[in-house]
Symmetry: C2
């Protein structure tokens, strides 16, 4: 039996044991992990140094090396993250619906763990701790498949988790790491329907697209955000400018940052240059259509490709949109269903935009940067779903649960 199937089987068996474990026992196990993590810092940092050396030898970029890097401070941050998860309410056991039938049957819909969660991710070894903690908190077993660039770190982290779980009520088989990081094991996970209930990719666009395109296991798609801001004719200049600068610049590398501006021609004529100069002064490269380049000559010509592009950096595409309907059509054509905003003083246009734009989060007069589990008050960062089934938008712990109908009778039969 292959490593993936073997570990899948163990995780499945552990997931059945987990359904009998209480919130207190799960929290105690998480606290053990936090303690063991702090106690094992030296060993983990040594393992991480191996990954860093290998990465330097391979000539990985500074940005990627920084994602792989662990430090004492980062390890303390990871332990802090586990304790934040301990403090969250346990969603498992919540009664979602109660149906009392005339024949006396009591039907309750109750929140239960999903079972076995697969996580496939790149570089960052902190995802190992983060994902395992979230899974255990919600009573799920987890199969982790990290990248080769963080292999030693992930191995040391999962060994540490197993030591901690051995002192807890949670079976250590609940956390499985796939050690073989070849493409083959990823492909096996995509089709591990026998043991895996859901697969969550965390990483770049290519990883996510591969998982979506090749996986027969249900996927929760997270990530890509080609987010737009439409500035309507009646938009207040200062408000529009502040929202655009915030959404583009507060943290340009993340998925809820703005990547494209649509501007009503009248507003563009009146205020467009001021706005574009402000962006330009903050070193934002502007890719514009003809009307934009007509008022701001430093703008480069936008190609069809630009309307599709999530720059994740200091660049933005800008285009005139002749009214809210045209903006909606453009966004529904080019957007990635993540976060979309309108700035307007016209309530009717705002209502139309909020209703007709197809995205997980739609904003009126606010920055797209608010799309985030912590900002929404969920206290955890599982990811931001851009699909429509199961979970959409920032995901809290309930995204890692399913439900079950529990029916209690006194011998009722169907007439």
């Amino acid at each position: 039996m292959s490593e993936v199937r073997q570990k899948g089987k163990l995780a499945k068996a552990a997931s059945f044991q987990l359904t009998g474990i209480s919130t207190e026992e799960k929290n105690a196990a998480l606290e053990r992990i936090a303690e063991e993590l702090l106690n094992s810092a030296k060993e983990i940092l040594q393992a991480n140094e191996k990954d860093m050396e290998a990465g330097r030898e391979k000539g990985l970029s500074e940005a990627i090396l920084d994602r792989i890097l662990l430090t004492e401070e980062r390890i303390r941050g990871m332990a802090e993250g586990i304790r934040q998860i301990i403090a969250l309410n346990d969603p498992v056991g919540e009664v979602l619906e109660t149906i009392e039938k005339e024949n006396g049957l009591l039907i309750e819909r109750i929140r239960v763990p999903i079972g076995v969660v697969g996580m496939i991710y790149e570089a960052r070894p902190n995802v190992t701790i983060d994902a395992a903690s979230l899974a255990l908190k919600t009573g799920n077993a987890i199969i982790l498949r990290g990248s080769s660039s963080a292999k030693s770190s992930n191995l040391a982290l999962v060994k540490m988790i197993h030591r901690a779980l051995e002192k807890s009520a949670v079976p250590k088989d609940a956390v499985q790491l796939i050690e073989d990081t070849s493409r083959e094991t990823a492909r096996e996970l995509f089709r591990l329907n026998d043991y895996l209930d859901v697969l969550i990719p965390r990483g770049g666009k290519n990883l996510i697209q591969t998982v979506v395109q090749e996986s027969t296991v249900p996927v929760i798609e997270t990530g890509a955000g080609n987010c737009h801001i439409y500035i309507d004719e009646s938009a207040d200049f200062t408000m529009a400018k502040e929202i655009v600068l915030n959404a583009k610049l507060q943290r340009p590398s993340v998925c809820n940052a703005a990547e494209s501006l649509l501007i009503h021609p009248a507003w563009l004529e009146r205020y467009g240059k001021d706005l574009l100069v402000s962006l330009h002064n903050q070193h934002v490269e502007i890719y514009g259509d003809d009307s934009v380049r007509g008022i701001f000559s430093q703008a480069k010509p936008a190609t069809e490709e630009d309307w599709h592009t999530e720059y994740l950096g200091l660049a933005i595409s800008v285009k005139a949109a002749d009214g809210v309907e045209e903006a909606i059509d453009h966004i529904n054509q080019y957007g990635t269903r993540h976060s979309e905003a309108i700035v307007t003083e016209d309530e009717e246009n705002a209502a139309l935009f909020l209703q007709k734009v197809d995205a997980a989060s739609v904003y009126h007069n606010a920055s797209t940067r608010f799309t985030d589990g912590f900002e929404f008050g969920y206290g955890a960062e599982i990811g931001i779903s851009t699909q429509k089934l199961h979970a959409r938008g920032p995901m809290g712990l309930p995204a890692l649960t399913s439900s079950k109908f529990v029916i209690k009778g006194k011998g009722q039969i169907r007439p």
Copy 2:
């Protein structure tokens, strides 16, 4: 462009229009369909007669021919079904969650249509009406891909729907029928991620497995039910017998019928023969393990295959299970996560069974036959989900919806 992609594109465009259409307009369109259906009975029955002739020529079984057959009475039943859907509450627009942030942002999570639903199904032309009505009620566009054996009927039904929609606010492109019923078009639907938000198979086990195994579009898996009843040591004889006979015999061909009995050895010794004789007298073929055959010689020997088998007819597998834990393990190994029951007077064993059995519906002292959208009070029959994401168990209209965060601000930016 292929038929599938072309119709996918039209359905997607229609789905955007549907977001602006009110409950009243959707209900009026459904009423138009009900009227047009009754008015077009003659034409539809003629088309159906063509399918019946072709089916007879091909030598299809009487059971399948009966599924294809439409009659005036069945058409009246279909119109009645549409009117029942009109009477249901529209879930779209429901506010699922309200978050007020300290900075004044108002975040609402609102129920919205999924977008474009794909339905791939066998024989029964009534699914065409049923699926289209449920989709339109929830503001979704739908792509229908029926089987070749009901091709003329489906074509006539969708033509009728288009005539009705032309007199309504709902765009007629919201309902698309794939006319080419070759395997190729099914395969294209499996990978139509650009236009299709979800794919729902309705039909036999092979169809469902093919869709699950080949589709990259998210699937809602429905159907297969290898349902067990575990009779515990303390089970009341009369109650156990009534539940078993009801679950096996009230309608043996459906997914929530019982297919396998697990019996505590002490109960088996005391009451087993009585129960098995009752089943035998109702012409149920019994496949038993050694202990079952020891008390009832007419039982045939059960093979490993029997524990996996959903007979969907007058047969049942029977086995001794030495206590609730053994029963739970057997069910979690062989069950299809549909409906599972325990009969016992022991509350502790009942609680353990309800918690640890992994299935959409778990029963204590009641027949598995209650797992049904109408029985649960949802008023519609979309199917019974046996998967864990998005929807699990009998699905009501909300299973055809997603949600969206709508955020209203006054210029808030992220600090």
